[in-house]
C-alpha cells in the first residue's frame, strides 16, 4: 500500500555449462527481472562480454518467422485470439515439426495462385481499358497494321481537325475525350502529327490484337471472370485454412516465442570464456524458491548472492503492491506514469476517490443503472478483451454503483425527483412547469464541498511531496530546502484560508452554516486586525519565505493555489450541468410534446407523442455519453493535474519478469 513491492537485487554466477539449466529454471519461475548487461568497458569488467545465444536459436527464429508469415497471410495474431483451449507444449512442438511444413506448403501454393490470379485480373483490366476507345472506330484490329507505306495514328484529341495531306480519318466525339484515328502515308506522318499536336493530341498505342474489337474485349472479360473466380477460390481456401489452423498457429507462435526468448537470453548476460553472470531483480518474497530451484537445477554449482549495496533507485523495476480492489486503477496510473521505486504510489487514493468523484458528479440513479447495464453488457459480450479492457469494465462498475448511491442521496432519477427529499445537496433546477415553486439547487453548498475536496487534496499532495523529497533526494541542503518549500505551499494555502475566514463569514454571505469555519468574531488586537487574521498573515508570510528560499521564482506560482482549489469546483459545476441537461430534455419531451398531446389526443397528438419519446431517448442518450465523459475525464483530471503535480514524479521501470505468460499452451 502506497509503496511498490519490495525488490531484491540478485546476482547469479555459474560456469557456462550450467547456462541452459539456469536459464530454463529462471524462465520457469517467471519472477526474475533481468537487467541487460551493457558492454561499456567499465573498470572491473575487463574481458567480460555480452553472451552469445544458446544453440539452436537460429533455427527457432527461422521457424518463428515462418509462423509469423503464415499468421500474416491469415491476418490473425495471438493478441486477437481469446478463449482458445490450452494445448500441451509437447503436442505443439510435434505439430511444429510435422504439420507446419505441410501447412506452409499448402498456404504458399494458395498465395502463389492468389497473386497469379490477381495479376491476371490486372492484365485483363489494362487490355480492356486500352481497347475501349477503339470500339468507337468501325474497323477490325487487323486493319491497323501490316502496311508498307501507310501508318496509323490513334489517340485522344481536343477537337476535330482538318488535315491537309491525303488521309483517311475516323473521329468519335465523347464526353471523356474525343478519339481520333488517322491513316496517312508514312512520308506525311510527321506533318500530320504536328497538326494533331496543335489540337491537344495525346497518342495511344494501338493494341496488338486481331479480329473485331468487341471479340477482343469479350475474350479479356472472360479471362478476367475466370481469374476472379480463381482469386475467390484461393481466398476461400485460405479462410478455410485460417479457421482450421489459427489456434494452432497462435499456440506455435507462443511456444516458439518462449523458446526464442530463452535461447536469446544470454544476449542480456555478462559472460567470460568460462563463466557468466546474470544481474536482476526479484520480489523479496521470491528469493527462497528461486535460490533453491537454481541450486537444484544445477546440482549446487551456481553462486546466487543478494546484493545489498547502494543501487540507483531509478534502476529498480517497479511492481504495484495494492489490495485487489485497487488493482484495476493501476491502469490509470500506467496511463500517467508508473511510480518510481522509492516514491509514494497513490493508486489506492485514486481507486477510492475516482468512483466517489464520478458519483458526486453524475449522481443519478437512472444513469447509474444505465452505466451498470452498459458495463455488464460490455463484459458479457467480452468487447474489451485483454487485461486493460477488463480493468476498465471493473472501474466502470465501481463508478456506476457510486453513481446510483449518490443518486439516491441527491434524490435524482433521469432528472426527475425520487419520492423523497434529497438527503444531501438538492440539485434540481427551476425548469419546467413547477419552476415558480422550485427553490433551485443547493449550488453554493455543493461548491463549498468541492472547494473542501480541493483544500484537502492539495494539502495531502504537498505532504506527500515532503515525504517524496525526503525519500528520493540525496540528504543535504537541497533536500531540506525542497521539504521546507513544500511546507511553505501548505502554509500559504492555510494562511490564505484563515485570512479569508477572518474577514468574511461564509455563514452570513450565503446563509449556510457549518460548512466553513467563521473566524470573524475572534478577539481584536488592533483596529481591523483580529487574532485569527494575524495568525493567517503570519502563516502566509512564513509560507512565502519558505517558498522563496528554495526558488524565488516559485512565488510567481502562488495564484495556482487559488486556481487549483477552484478547479475542484468542477465536481459541483459539471454535475449541475448534467442535471440541467436531463431536466431540459424532460421538459422538452414531456412538458412540450407528450403532456399537451395526452390532454387532447388526436392524430396530431400521436405524432407529438412519438416526437416527444424520440427527444426523451436521444436527449438522455446524449446525457449518458456526456456523463461518462464528464464524470470520468474530470475526476481523473483532478487527480492527474491538481493532485499528482504536487508530488508525483513517475517514470519507474516496469517490472517485466523473464518468462512467458502462457495463453495457448501449458507445460
Amino acid at each position: 500500500m502506497f509503496q511498490p513491492k519490495p525488490m531484491t537485487h540478485l546476482l547469479i554466477a555459474a560456469s557456462k555449462e550450467q547456462m541452459t539449466s539456469v536459464v530454463t529454471e529462471l524462465y520457469r519461475h517467471r519472477v526474475f527481472h533481468i537487467t541487460d548487461f551493457v558492454d561499456q568497458g567499465k573498470e572491473g569488467y575487463e574481458g567480460v562480454r555480452i553472451g552469445t545465444p544458446l544453440e539452436g536459436a537460429g533455427d527457432l527464429s527461422t521457424n518463428l518467422l515462418k509462423i509469423r508469415s503464415l499468421e500474416n497471410v491469415f491476418q490473425t495474431s495471438p493478441e486477437t485470439l481469446f478463449d482458445v483451449p490450452k494445448r500441451p507444449v509437447e503436442s505443439i512442438r510435434q505439430a511444429i515439426e510435422r504439420e507446419l511444413p505441410a501447412i506452409e506448403a499448402e498456404v504458399n501454393d494458395l498465395t502463389v495462385k492468389r497473386s497469379n490470379a490477381e495479376s491476371r485480373i490486372r492484365d485483363s483490366e489494362q487490355h480492356i481499358a486500352e481497347l475501349r476507345p477503339f470500339a468507337l472506330v468501325p474497323l477490325e484490329m487487323d486493319l491497323y497494321r501490316g502496311y508498307d507505306s501507310i501508318t496509323a495514328i490513334a489517340g485522344y484529341i481536343g477537337s476535330d481537325v482538318t488535315i491537309a495531306v491525303p488521309h483517311e480519318k475516323y473521329y468519335a466525339a465523347r464526353k471523356d475525350g474525343n478519339f481520333i484515328v488517322v491513316f496517312v502515308e508514312k512520308q506525311h506522318a510527321t506533318e500530320v502529327e504536328r497538326t494533331l499536336s496543335d489540337a491537344d493530341f495525346q497518342s495511344v498505342t494501338i493494341p496488338n490484337e486481331t479480329g473485331s474489337v468487341q471479340a477482343a474485349v469479350d475474350k479479356y472479360t472472360a479471362d478476367q471472370t475466370q481469374a476472379k473466380a480463381a482469386f475467390a477460390e484461393a481466398n476461400a481456401k485460405i479462410s478455410e485454412l485460417k479457421a482450421k489452423y489459427a489456434d494452432l498457429l497462435a499456440a506455435c507462435d507462443e511456444v516458439l516465442s518462449g523458446d526464442v526468448e530463452r535461447a536469446e537470453a544470454p544476449l542480456r548476460f555478462a559472460t567470460t570464456e568460462e563463466a557468466f553472470v546474470i544481474d536482476g531483480w526479484v520480489p523479496a518474497d521470491h528469493i527462497e524458491p528461486i535460490t533453491a530451484g537454481l541450486s537444484q537445477a544445477t546440482g549446487g554449482s551456481v553462486y546466487v548472492t543478494v546484493d545489498d549495496g547502494d543501487v540507483d533507485a531509478t534502476a529498480i523495476p517497479v511492481e504495484y503492491n495494492n489490495p485487489s480492489f485497487a488493482k484495476p486503477s493501476e491502469l490509470f496510473m500506467d496511463v500517467y506514469a508508473r511510480p518510481r521505486y522509492n516514491e509514494i504510489d497513490p493508486t489506492l487514493i485514486l481507486a477510492i476517490m475516482f468512483p466517489i468523484f464520478f458519483g458526486l458528479i453524475v449522481g443519478d440513479v437512472g444513469y447509474g443503472i444505465i452505466f451498470l447495464i452498459l458495463a455488464l453488457f460490455v463484459r458479457k459480450m467480452a468487447m474489451f478483451r485483454g487485461e486493460g479492457g477488463k480493468n476498465l469494465v471493473k472501474i466502470l462498475v465501481g463508478a456506476s454503483i457510486s453513481t446510483i448511491f449518490f443518486g439516491i442521496l441527491y434524490s435524482e432519477c433521469l432528472g426527475y425527483a425520487l419520492p423523497w427529499h434529497a438527503v444531501m445537496f438538492q440539485r434540481h433546477l427551476a425548469i419546467g412547469a413547477d419552476a415558480a415553486h422550485a427553490t433551485g439547487p443547493d449550488a453554493i453548498p455543493l461548491l463549498i464541498m468541492s472547494v473542501w475536496f480541493g483544500i484537502i487534496y492539495i494539502t495531502v499532495g504537498r505532504i506527500f511531496g515532503m515525504i517524496n523529497h525526503y525519500r528520493m533526494d540525496h540528504a543535504g541542503k537541497h533536500r531540506t530546502k525542497a521539504i521546507i518549500g513544500q511546507f511553505g505551499w501548505i502554509a500559504i494555502l492555510w494562511g490564505l484560508l484563515i485570512l479569508v475566514w477572518s474577514f468574511f463569514s461564509v455563514e452570513q454571505m450565503f446563509g449556510i452554516s457549518g460548512m466553513m469555519p467563521d473566524l470573524t468574531n475572534s478577539p481584536l488586537i488592533a483596529p481591523g486586525l483580529s487574532v485569527s487574521a494575524l495568525a493567517g498573515l503570519i502563516l502566509l508570510v512564513l509560507g512565502c519565505i519558505f517558498l522563496a528560499q528554495e526558488n524565488v521564482l516559485d512565488l510567481m506560482e502562488i495564484p495556482t493555489i487559488i486556481s487549483h482549489v477552484l478547479s475542484f469546483c468542477r465536481i459541483a459545476a459539471v454535475g449541475l450541468s448534467s442535471v440541467a441537461i436531463a431536466m431540459v430534455v424532460n421538459y422538452l419531451s414531456f412538458g412540450m410534446f407528450i403532456d399537451p398531446a395526452l390532454a387532447n389526443l388526436d392524430a396530431v397528438g400521436v405524432i407529438m407523442i412519438i416526437v416527444g419519446v424520440l427527444i426523451f431517448i436521444c436527449g438522455h442518450a446524449l446525457n449518458v455519453g456526456l456523463g461518462l465523459l464528464g464524470g470520468g475525464l474530470h475526476s481523473i483530471r483532478l487527480h492527474y493535474v491538481e493532485f499528482f503535480t504536487k508530488f508525483y514524479v513517475g517514470g519507474g521501470i516496469k517490472y517485466n519478469p523473464f518468462g512467458l505468460k502462457r495463453k495457448f499452451s501449458e507445460e
Partner: protein, 82 residues
C-alpha cells in the same frame, strides 16, 4: 416632458435578466477561451500520440489543462444565478 418610471417589480425582473445575461456570457466566453486553448494543444497531442502511443497519458493531461477556464466560467455563472 415624459418622466420615465419603473416599478420595483420591473426593476427586479430586469436585474434577474441582467444576471442571466451575465451568467450566459461567463459560460460562453469561458467556453470559447477553453476551446481556443485546447485547439492547438489537442492537434499537437494527437500528433504526438500517433507517433508514440506511450504519450497518450501526457497528451491527455496537456489537452485537459485549459478546461479549468470554462469551469471558472461555470462557477461564476452558478454564483450569479443562485
Amino acid at each position: 416632458m415624459a418622466i420615465e418610471t419603473m416599478t420595483v417589480e420591473a426593476a427586479q425582473a430586469m436585474a434577474v435578466g441582467y444576471k442571466a445575461i451575465g451568467a450566459g456570457l461567463a459560460v460562453g466566453l469561458a467556453g470559447v477561451g477553453t476551446g481556443m486553448g485546447e485547439m492547438g494543444i489537442g492537434a499537437a497531442a494527437v500528433g504526438a500520440t500517433a507517433e508514440d502511443r506511450d504519450m497518450f497519458g501526457l497528451a491527455l493531461l496537456f489537452t485537459v489543462l485549459p478546461e479549468t477556464i470554462v469551469i471558472f466560467g461555470l462557477v461564476i455563472a452558478l454564483l450569479l444565478l443562485f
